[in-house]
Structure formats: C-alpha cells, structure tokens
C-alpha cells in the first residue's frame, strides 16, 4: 500500500507532545484539620463544667426520720458547709479553664481559616500572573510572525 504523503495521526501526536498547556497550580489538598470548635471533647466540657448540679441532690434531700436521719443531715451540712468555699473556687477555676479552651479552639480555627484564605489568594495571584505571561508570549509570537510575513525591511540592510 502506498504511504500517504502526510500522516494525520503523526501530526496529532506531534502537536500533543509539543503543545504547552496554560499553567495551573497543583490541586489544592483537602483540608486535613477539622474545626477545633466541633471537637466532641469541647462539647463534653461545655456540658459538664457545672459541678454544683452534682451536689444539688445532697442539699435538696429530704431527711429521713429518727436519730439516724438527723445524724446524716447534720453530717451532710457540716461537710458541705466546710467544703463550700473550696468547691466554689474549684467551680470558678473549671469555668475559666473551659472558657480558655473554648477561646483557644476559636483562635485555632480562625488561624486555619486565615491561612487557607491566604493560600487561595496566593494561588489566584499565581494563576493570573501565569495568564499574563502566556498572553505576553502569544503577543510576542504574533508580532514575530507578522514581521516574518512582512519580509525584511530597508533598515535591515
């Protein structure tokens, strides 16, 4: 069979090997960090920091009758009365700790969001820069082609 003068498939292969595609940044990695504010442990702290609720049943309990009941009530009052300042302090400490953890979680999430926004902005700037460079290259190639088509000028000697 006679060989064709020009093989279309080889031209296409040559074009595919040669064509430069517009620059694009590599794919953005999926965010690996889940928000700290959604952490289940933080939720637990919010639900359980209030310890007074735990003591409330002992304070509210109706005393049983008889000597045994009276002793029990007296013992409870003595205990709670002597420990109350300490427990209040501890309650305040826990509340502050939970607030601090909460603020840290919000701060962490804000830092991650700001970082992601900065990366996105940087990538957008890079894409725009690449587009400008490519447009300048195309324009330069067209000017060069037009000069070749126009032929040598008198200035060229």
């Amino acid at each position: 069979m006679e060989q064709p003068d020009v093989a279309a498939s080889s031209i296409v292969g040559e074009i595919r090997a040669r064509v430069r595609r517009p620059w694009a940044p590599s794919p953005r990695p999926d965010p690996l960090l889940s928000p700290m504010t959604a952490d289940p442990n933080l939720g637990y702290l919010h639900r359980h920091w209030e310890l007074r609720k735990t003591l409330e049943p002992a304070r509210q309990r109706v005393p049983a009758g008889g000597v045994r009941g009276a002793v029990k009530v007296a013992f409870n009052r003595l205990n709670l009365g002597s420990l109350a300042p300490y427990l209040d302090e501890e309650q305040e400490l826990l509340a502050h700790l939970v607030r601090l953890v909460d603020a840290l979680a919000h701060r962490c999430d804000a830092i991650v969001a700001a970082q992601a926004a900065e990366i996105d902005s940087l990538r957008a700037d890079l894409v725009e820069l690449a587009a400008r460079i490519e447009a300048a290259q195309v324009e330069a190639a067209q000017v060069e082609a037009a000069q070749v088509e126009a032929g040598p000028s008198a200035d060229d000697g």
């Binding site: 064709p4 003068d5 020009v6 279309a8 067209q142 082609a145």
Partner: protein, 375 residues
C-alpha cells in the same frame, strides 16, 4: 402498484430537516429503486409540515402521543452524569424515560393494513406499539446512534434485540453498535455509508464577500467561546463562521464581526473549497455531513477528539486533525497554515471521501442487500 415488487415500510420520527432526516430519506430513496416504499412518520401534535420529500413517497403521518424528547434527554444526561452506569438506573425511572419519549400506537394499525415484506425503523426514541405486527417480516433498525449514552440506554432497554439487521451509516456508528449490542457478526450490523451528494466548489468565488486572501470555515455558533478564542489567537486570519442549521454565516476577524448573511449550501461549499481548513467545533453528530463535504472538496478538517463519527472520518481519510482542548485546537489550525501539510491532507481527504461516501451505487446496493436481502 407494480406486481411482484417487494413492499417496504419505513417507520420514522425523523423526516424533517437535519442529518437524521437526510439519512432516512436516502435509505427510503435507495429502497424505492427496487421496492414499493411507504413512509410512516410518527409526528408530535405539532409535528413538521409536509416537506417536498413527501411527494416522492407514499407518506402516512401518525400522531405520536406526548413526546417530550428534550425532557427525556435532559433526564438521561442527569442520570448518567460523569459516565454513570445506565444499567444502574432503576426500572421505574426507565419507565418514566420511555413515557417521556412518547408513543405512536397508530403505527401498528398502519403496518397491519400495509402488510409490508420488510420494515425499517429509523431511530429508536419512540415506542411504536408494534409487537406482533413485526412477526413474519424482515425487520431492520436504522439506529442513528449519535453517542454512547443514547446507545447504552437503548441497550439497557433491550432496544437492540429482535432485529434481523441493524443499519449504520458510518464505521464509527457500526463499531459502536457492534460493541454495545454485543453482536460481533458483520451480518447483523451493516455499514451502509452515507451517500452524500458530491459538492461542487466551483463558482464565482466568495473571496470578495469574505474580503480576505485566506480564511477558515468554522462550523459553530458565531458566539461560541471557541470562535472567540481562535479569532484572538489568529488575528491575521479571517474566520467564516457557518451555522448550517440556521443557514447563516458571519465573518469574524480578531474582535470584529464584519459580514452577517444568510447562506445557501452551495455557497457554503464554495467557502469550504477556498478555505485553509474546515473546523467542526460542534458536538458529535450522527452524520458528519459538512466534514465529509469539506473532504470531498479537498479541504482538510479539524474536529474535536470526542466528536465520534467526525473524528473517525478525519482519521480514516488521513485528512484531518483532532484536538482535545483549546491549545491543541490552536496548534492544529497553526499546522494547517503550513501549505504542504494542508494540501497533502486535502488531497488524501478528497480521494477517501469521494470513494467512501459519495458512491450512490454502493449505497443503494448495500441498502437493498441489508433490507431486502438482495442487491
């Protein structure tokens, strides 16, 4: 009616303009050379008016009920977006798709009274209500498979089963049918070719109208992004953007559109004959008619790599280039500006297209053999 001639009925929804209608009319005309042909057109309520082709055949129009083809197509595409598996579409949804496709129950009645020896069903979008009527007759399906999706859905519905012969009009479609329907035997799938009118590029020449020494013919919507991209990449080259369906052409150069005019097919051929290349930027077509016409005129083509039949034509003819994305499209156009490559590809295309797609005798013989069982 002549005694002893076979009677053939062509049942179709595609009898108006467009590539599908063109192919169906070609098949009907080829059969009419040795058989009595009746064409049953399943129209929508507001179907196309009678065309000049109606005068050449006995045409019976049967109303089709509630065809909502556009909605059916959109639903199909939504269900298979991202290359989804068509067979995974649940049965009730498939039934809804069939309902949207409409039905033409009157076709069965017409076939019973016509009692043809052979039936050709062109296209497969309608339920023709023909079970039982087809028994004892030679049955042929002119598939008009535009893409893998339509065909895959048809296969899932079993549309490809039960035919004596399945007809294709180019090698791409034939291969698609064989692989999708699982029929490797060439006897079941026949490639008829497309029997195009041989175009003539002779004429006063449209160069004055274009107003440039050299131009490209681009088949697309003048407002498309691809046209704008090419116009900016090749500001020194005029582009005649032709929309064959609308019969209109626009000359685009750089950022300017200069001439906008209605255009006849003959004028389009003259434009193609004088062009550097013909770019077919449209989605895949059943029949890449303009690509073949351009090749017959000796003008090479640039087509999308995913354009199915058009890309196959460019490959088989060794007369066209295909692109995957805009940078490759621009590189293909730049390559066509090389006179040696362009002329060599054009000459190869003219030889191939004229032999493979403009031989009326071959088409008529193949059609008769496939449908009537003799040439």
């Amino acid at each position: 009616m002549a005694e002893g001639r076979l009677r053939t009925t062509v049942v179709t929804t595609e009898w108006s303009g467009g590539a599908e209608g063109y192919l169906v009319r070609r098949v009907a005309a080829a059969l009419a050379m040795s058989a009595e042909v009746t064409v049953v057109v399943a129209d929508g309520h507001r179907g196309p008016a009678a065309s000049c082709a109606d005068g050449a055949f006995e045409v019976i129009r049967v109303p089709s009920q509630a065809p909502e083809l556009r909605r059916a197509r959109l639903l199909q595409e939504a269900l298979t977006v991202g290359g989804g598996d068509v067979t995974a579409i649940p049965g009730p949804v498939r039934a809804e798709l069939r309902r949207l496709g409409g039905s033409a129950p009157g076709v069965g009645q017409v076939l019973r009274s016509a009692a043809p020896d052979a039936v050709v069903v062109a296209g497969h979008r309608h339920e023709m209500a023909m079970p039982g009527v087809m028994q004892g007759r030679r049955t042929c399906l002119l598939a008009l498979a535009v893409d893998d999706l339509a065909l895959a859905l048809s296969v899932a519905e079993g549309v490809g089963d039960g035919w004596d012969t399945i007809l294709a009009t180019n090698s791409y479609e034939a291969d698609l049918l064989r692989s999708s329907l699982g029929r490797s035997g060439p006897a079941l799938v026949h490639n008829l070719g497309s029997c195009l009118e041989r175009p003539s590029g002779d004429g006063p020449g449209p160069a004055g109208w274009v107003g440039e020494r050299s131009w490209l013919v681009a088949l697309d919507d003048p407002g498309s992004a691809a046209v704008a991209y090419l116009a900016l990449r090749f500001p020194a080259l005029a582009m005649v953007v032709v929309d064959p369906g609308a019969g209109a052409a626009v000359v685009v150069r750089g950022r300017h559109r200069r001439v906008e005019a209605p255009i006849s097919r003959r004028w389009m051929w003259e434009l193609m004959a004088g062009a550097v290349a013909t770019l077919d930027l449209r989605p895949a077509q059943v029949l890449p008619r303009e690509v073949l016409e351009s090749l017959m005129l000796g003008t090479p083509v640039v087509v999308a790599a995913a354009s199915g039949a058009a890309r196959r034509c460019a490959e088989e003819a060794n007369a066209g280039l295909w692109y995957r994305d805009p940078p490759e499209l621009a590189a293909c156009v730049a390559r066509m500006l090389d006179r040696h490559s362009r002329d060599a590809l054009g000459a190869q295309g003219r030889c191939w297209a004229t032999a493979a797609h403009a031989n009326q005798d071959t088409f008529v013989r193949a059609t008769r053999m496939a449908v009537l069982g003799h040439s």
